[in-house]
Amino acid sequence: MTNLVRAELRALRTSPTTWSLLLAVAAIGVLGTVAPLIASDAVPAHFVSDRGIQEALHGAAAGVGLVIVVGVVGMAGEWRWGQATQTFITTPVRRRVVGAKLLVHAGLGALFGVVAAAASLATAWGWYRNEGMALPLDRSAVWLTLAGCVLVSMLFGPLGVAIGALVRNVVAAVAGVLVWQIIVEPTLFAASPSVFRWLPGIASFAIRRQPDEHMLGVAPALVVVGGLLAAMIVAGTLAVERRDVTA
């Protein structure tokens, strides 16, 4: 397993997709933080309240959905250029390959989450300072919001791998993930928040403490996202083990 993890890390390190998406996640973290701050017309006292802090920092995780894309590309990409043949010739016990990818993409998700959180924190700190305020770094709301960003990112990395294990077509898998995240879930949630707050993407908003009274609590949200991840891992691993590698 150690060799597989090292090989996967090497493959990720030498893939331009990894670095361009990391840059995108950082950029979205900055924009997701500064845009609502600039647009807000709240009084200064609001910005140092817990809700104000959450409003300022929850955008850190706006880009971590892209971590799913990295995971999808990492797994489904095996079939894109015929790498699957070489991968499974090297490691015929395929669940080991999936296991190594899950592990590596959880770690990569943590890295993406930390970068997004750092970008958001630096942006919010600069904006507060520019407005003559201080971001209250001693408040748990700051760190819980950023920790939520890192946690969601850590869960999304392996989720992408599991999706890629189920759907071998990279373009279809990535398009499906993005449409689901950007259009389907927000639309359904807008239509009926109390029902569709149980959707996994919306539940992940709760983990990263998006300020909204309709959100689930963090614990049930973790159960929803963690449960989906576990189910997808089992289904994805079985699919990879059972399907013939014909190309």
Partner: protein, 248 residues
Amino acid sequence: MRSQHDDLSIRCVDLTKQFGDHTAVDRLTFSASAGTVTGFVGGNGAGKTTTMRMLLGLISPTSGRALVAGRPYVEHDEPRRVVGASIDGPGAHPARSAIEHLRIIATAAGLPRHGVEPVLDKVGLTASAGRKVGTFSMGMLQRLALAGALLADPPILILDEPVNGLDPAGILWMRGLLSELAGEGRAILVSSHLLAELAEVADRIVVIHEGRLLADDTLTNLLAGRSSSFEELYFELVGGGRAEGVSA
């Protein structure tokens, strides 16, 4: 070449693969032994690649057995050290360099990194080691695929159409390399559409058509008592008409 295995052969026993209603490989039985190049001949869709993929554990047989070094491929602890395979190209990301592609394989297989440069040298790709695979010609891709197969210096080689895309000099080089590798005692199973080329390198010929075995013998025995060439014999075996994708 180093091996701890006694049985250095490739063996298919009543091997069958069905995809839905279509029988791709039908009760195929043959073997390829150490120190010989076994030519695996058949037209497009004859079942050659499916058979090779079953030998490599990539496709599950519907019934029968596909064995390398006496066991199914998936039962080998370090399969790359037992079998080297080139099938459907190198399987490399086009944005990655040749050397990086091989280093990733070596890392995953637990092979030493310093084994990569010599194998690139062996296939004549040293000068292109740092080039992105996406810029490679078909012939260079074939050489890179072969480099991957030879990375662990395995005693068994399974090569699917290794001369496809090679220029005449490359074909000559491949012919010499296969003879050299078999001379070192390896069991080599090599498929090709190029009958004349296979006749040059193969010690033994296995002919399949529509998934079924038509012939399995040395070329000398197959042609014994005939005035016909291997090409003519092949088309006789497959039923007169020219099999699709096979050329003299």
